[in-house]
Structure formats: structure tokens, C-alpha cells
Symmetry: C2
Subunit: 210 residues, 2 copies
Amino acid sequence: MFVERFTAAAGPQPVDSVASESSVQYPVRRWGAIIAVDVVEYSRLTSQNEEQTYLQYKSHRRELIDPKIAEFGARFLKSTGDGVMAEFETALDAARCAVHVQRGMVERCQGEAAETQIVFRIGVSCGRILADPEDIYGHDVNVAARLQTLAPPGGIVMTEEVADRVRDGVDLPLEDLGLHYFKNMHRPVRVFQCRFAAERGEKVLADSVS
Amino acid sequence: MFVERFTAAAGPQPVDSVASESSVQYPVRRWGAIIAVDVVEYSRLTSQNEEQTYLQYKSHRRELIDPKIAEFGARFLKSTGDGVMAEFETALDAARCAVHVQRGMVERCQGEAAETQIVFRIGVSCGRILADPEDIYGHDVNVAARLQTLAPPGGIVMTEEVADRVRDGVDLPLEDLGLHYFKNMHRPVRVFQCRFAAERGEKVLADSVS
């Protein structure tokens, strides 16, 4: 349902999907920016209390994440169980959405016990995407999913291409974390991290890429 | 679309969802068996050739995996990008579906170059599931996703509870691989592996849990 709503709101379609729906040849190829949002230590939270984890996670989705993803005009959204993957028209929409989500989470979780608190990591990438009615695919989609594992809890990391496109559009410094080699990926990825010093203090930043 | 079809075909519903759709309180709680099916080295295949990987993967889905998942009566199916997660009424349906998929893949891929061949790992678990219209959640869902990482390429691993329920219903010996500790999970999981010796030879089995 959600996926269809976002797909329908995609705006101008790439040339190869302009024809009537029934004649579309999948995959559609398009440029897009992707955010991968994941809960830190989701397995631990679920092992401790699966009902409470579900209810907390869903309230963050319903009241913060999904509205922000809609606000920034995502054209694709899917659940990954402990988070979401969403696709936007531009890198700036994706990065701003990520910043709004992480700032929103700081507000929502003030005073919560660290032990049961839900905290997200976010990875942002962009590039050529293969899409069909079910999902999105391609190297840069995989990169977003891998990238989020490098983000500190509550943090955002992005590829160099995203950083270059958003540097003047987000009000946060971007720190170069250097080249990272992901398993089974031939080329290394240069990773940049949003510095949230004002909100989250230096400790989280120091934990960074561990 | 696929998800809705499977959800609609769920058959007898748990007591808390018997009321009209609009009065359902999510999450619904139900017992279920889960398979997590994942492509071995998907990132490598995608890095090498994302179009070809997409087309090969989708043909396996369309011609083998999705029909088998439907044949064994799954009530939930979702894409995980490089595979699927599906939920069945019984552990035996889940395990038999997994065996049919892996045997089917052996036939489909005969003579293909190893370098570009798509091979799946499958994990099978069962237990209490939380479900809503979007996804399924809970500790045992997480276990299925983690388990598949232990399977050899082309293989199937399952929890002890699944093994106990399917031992007399699948025509393959189940080998006890012992206790495994997954990150962020408090209790270890006793893992069993299907022995496919006749089809896949001893080499694959020797590679087992690496």
C-alpha cells in the first residue's frame, strides 16, 4: 500500500516507463538517491521484549519517519524488518530527510532509558537504480544498506557523490572518513559522515566507525 | 501485490483478527514458520553486472521460488532485495518448500559458469510472530535471517525446533551443527543442516559453516 502510494507520486517518469503500464519492460532504469534506515542492536531489543520493541519502532515510523519520507517526496519505500529503505529524486532530499529523522529521534527519545531506546543508523547513496513493481536493485542500492552499518548510533553516513551534492544544502559539516572496503564489492567507497556535534556531543562522534 | 495475495490466502485467521478488518489491533500474534532465502555473494554479482544479475535472479523467482512458495501455502512473502522472506502455517511446509527450491536450483543451473551463477542459502525457523499489514516481526523472524548466513551455498539450515517437527517429513538426513551464538542474541541457537549428499556431493557439505 505504502509502496504503491509512493510509486504513484513519482512525478515525471523515465523515458522507458512513459508508455502505458502494461507495456513497461522491467527493470525500469532511473537515477535515484537511497536512504537505508536501521535500528541499532535490533536483535538485542527484540530478544529482550519483542512486543515493546515492535510498538516503539512502529510509533517512530508512524509519527516521524514515514511522514518525513513522504514530506521529502520519496517515490519508493519498503520495510526491511528493523527499518526502511526509501528512494528519492535527489540526493539533497534524501540527506535532508535523514537529518530530519535523526534530529526528530533525539527529541522523541529524551529521558528514555538507554537500555530499551530505539536508535537508528542511516546510510545515504545515489546512482543508477533498477526498479520493478516489487523492489529496487543495483550496486548503489547495496551500498546504502552496507553504509548504514558504518554510521554511529543516531548518525548518518553517505557516499562521496552524495556529499558533493548536498554539502551546501545541509546545515551540518561533513567529515571525510576515508575509503572503506565492503565485502564482495570490488571498488572501495569514500565515506562522509554528518557531524551532529551540537545535538549529540563528541562521544558519539568518537565512537564513529568501529 | 504479492504480499496481499498471500495474506488473503492465509486460511483460518488467529482469534484476534477474526473481527472485521477495521477493528484489528496490530500486531496480530500467531505461530508460523519462516524461510529466509538469500543470494550467495549478491554484492559481488551485482558489482560485476547488475542487469544480468537482476534478470537471472528474477527468472529464478518467477519460475521456481514464487511458485513453490505459493504451492506450499505461504501466507506472507516479502522481497529482501537479494532474496525473500516467507511465512508458512507449519514447519514442514517451510522446510519442504526450501528443499524444493534448492533441488530446483541444481537443475536450473546445470552447466552455468560458477562465476555468474546465482546460488541461494536458506534458513528456516519457527515460533511466535508479530504481524501487521506491512511486515512480520519477532525474535524467531530475526533468527531465520541470521540462520541463512550459516548455510552452505545451495544449502538449508534450520533451528532445532524446526528439525524436530520435519525429521519424518523430509527425505533428507538432518545433521546437528551444534550451538551457534549470534551477535546481540542472548541465547544460543542449536542449528541443523539438511544433507543434500546425493545431489550436491561432499564438497559443498565440507564447506558447511565457515
